[in-house]
């Protein structure tokens, strides 16, 4: 990344942010300034990755500290947030809200204030551009898992956010679909923040943040952070410590 010093209202800024969910502290005093083009957030299950994603997206509010996305508070400036930030959830069935492809794609545009006819025209043009004009009016229930992922990504892209949060974007997909989606992600002009437990998918990032127990364990270029992470995961895998319950 060439731009090492960025203005404070560029990207996502967390200042001493803490989150407690059902009485359990999940994130502790996180202070991060995320402004690089490709950022990876890595950690084990339960490390607070998904909570961090929901925090950045404004879906939950910090108990202490502040979160700013392009200078705005993501829990308050909901309408502005639509052009600042999009999210791709892990399970498409939790993200697709409408029974047909074109309704799903048009919804975000209408939320951003486009009249229905404009939104529909944009959707049709978008499908044609991607060689999928025959998808108009198709029931989402008939799409394959990979096709649903693609639909979710397009629904986000049509809203043209400056940053996209990806939650385990390739988990559970077959290899050709993974390759295809990874290629689609690589070509995007947006800032991408990828949340995953798979170090291999983060080698091309500008910056990797390793989250452990709700705090930053390491933060830097992938060549520096990923070997540390992998070594620690190897070590933990060798122990039989999975009997401990989260308190």
């Amino acid at each position: 990344m060439t731009r090492s010093t960025a203005a404070d209202d560029d990207g996502i800024v967390l200042t001493d942010a803490s989150v407690t969910l059902t009485g359990r502290p999940v994130l502790h005093n996180l202070s991060l300034h995320l402004h690089q083009q490709r950022i990876g957030i890595i950690g084990r299950n339960g490390s607070g990755k998904s909570t961090l994603m929901r925090l950045m997206a404004g879906l939950i509010a910090p108990d202490r500290g502040t979160v700013r996305v392009e200078g705005d508070d993501p829990t308050r400036a909901r309408k502005k947030m639509l052009s600042h930030l999009g999210i791709l959830f892990q399970n498409p069935d939790h993200q697709i809200l409408f029974p047909t492809v074109d309704e799903e794609l048009a919804f975000g545009l209408m939320q951003m204030g486009a009249p229905k006819s404009d939104a529909q025209a944009q959707v049709t043009a978008h499908l044609v551009r991607h060689g999928r004009s025959h998808w108009r009016g198709v029931s989402v229930a008939t799409l394959s898992q990979g096709q649903r992922h693609w639909l979710c990504l397009q629904a986000v892209l049509l809203m043209q956010p400056r940053t996209i949060l990806l939650d385990e974007p390739l988990a559970g997909l077959d290899l050709p679909t993974q390759t295809r989606l990874a290629r689609a992600f690589a070509a995007l002009p947006q800032r991408l923040i990828t949340i995953t437990h798979d170090p291999a998918s983060l080698t091309g990032c500008d910056r990797v943040i390793w989250l452990d127990g709700g705090s930053v364990a390491a933060d830097g270029p992938p060549a520096q952070v990923l070997p540390l992470f992998q070594a620690e995961m190897q070590r933990l895998g060798g122990l039989d410590a999975d009997a401990d319950l989260a308190g």
């Binding site: 639509l82 809200l97 309704e103 919804f107 029931s139």
Partner: protein, 198 residues
């Protein structure tokens, strides 16, 4: 409802949804207004004739859609036979079959989005209480999540049977309800992420 729309194009597909729904309302009203088995028979004949304008494949599909009525027909027929009230039984049966067949006909020939547009227009007087956009969103969510939830129920049923010889039956009710609440939470977040219901 999505899968109920017939892929066979009929002249009825080209009629406006509002017109069809109004005609259906009038027709059903007339069915309950008359008590003559003869007139009800004529009404049923009329419905069958309209089905046949869509071709035999379409009409046969329409007949198959009436299959869920059989248990009711059997019970009503047996009751009236036992009561020795043949004309009364004929009135009830003809009325029921004609009304359901006519309603199916409208469903089979009307696209869902057109149906929702009509509903939104009808609900406009309620707009201070219930914004039409929100109503449309609610309808869409229901249609979207019926297949998702039934798949979820099927998965849980498989998981149950994998560890038990018997079918789960009512025991599935609580897990399915909890899974539905869980899914609803995720969907609410996805909705909020794209600007909410407002």
């Amino acid at each position: 409802m999505l899968t109920l729309t017939s892929p066979v194009e009929t002249p009825l597909h080209r009629l406006r949804a509002g017109v069809k729904l109004a005609a259906l309302a009038l027709f059903t009203f007339a069915l309950f207004w008359t008590r003559s088995p003869l007139w009800l028979g004529v009404a049923l004949g009329l419905v069958i004739a309209v089905y046949l304008t869509g071709g035999t494949i379409f009409a046969r599909h329409g007949a198959r859609m009436l299959r869920p009525l059989w248990p009711f027909i059997a019970v009503i027929a047996l009751w009236h036979l036992w009561q020795d009230d043949l004309s009364g039984g004929a009135v009830v049966l003809l009325r029921m079959v004609a009304a359901v067949a006519a309603a199916n006909l409208v469903t089979m020939t009307t696209r869902l989005s057109d149906m929702i547009t009509v509903l939104e227009r009808l609900a406009r007087p309620l707009s201070p209480l219930l914004p039409p956009r929100r109503l449309a969103l609610a309808i869409a969510l229901v249609i979207r999540f019926i297949p998702v939830l039934s798949e979820r129920a099927a998965q849980l049923s498989l998981a149950y049977r994998a560890r038990s010889g018997r079918a789960p039956g009512w025991r599935l009710f609580a897990p399915v309800a909890l899974a539905a609440l869980d899914d609803a939470e995720c969907v609410a977040q996805a909705l909020r992420a794209r600007g909410g219901a407002g």
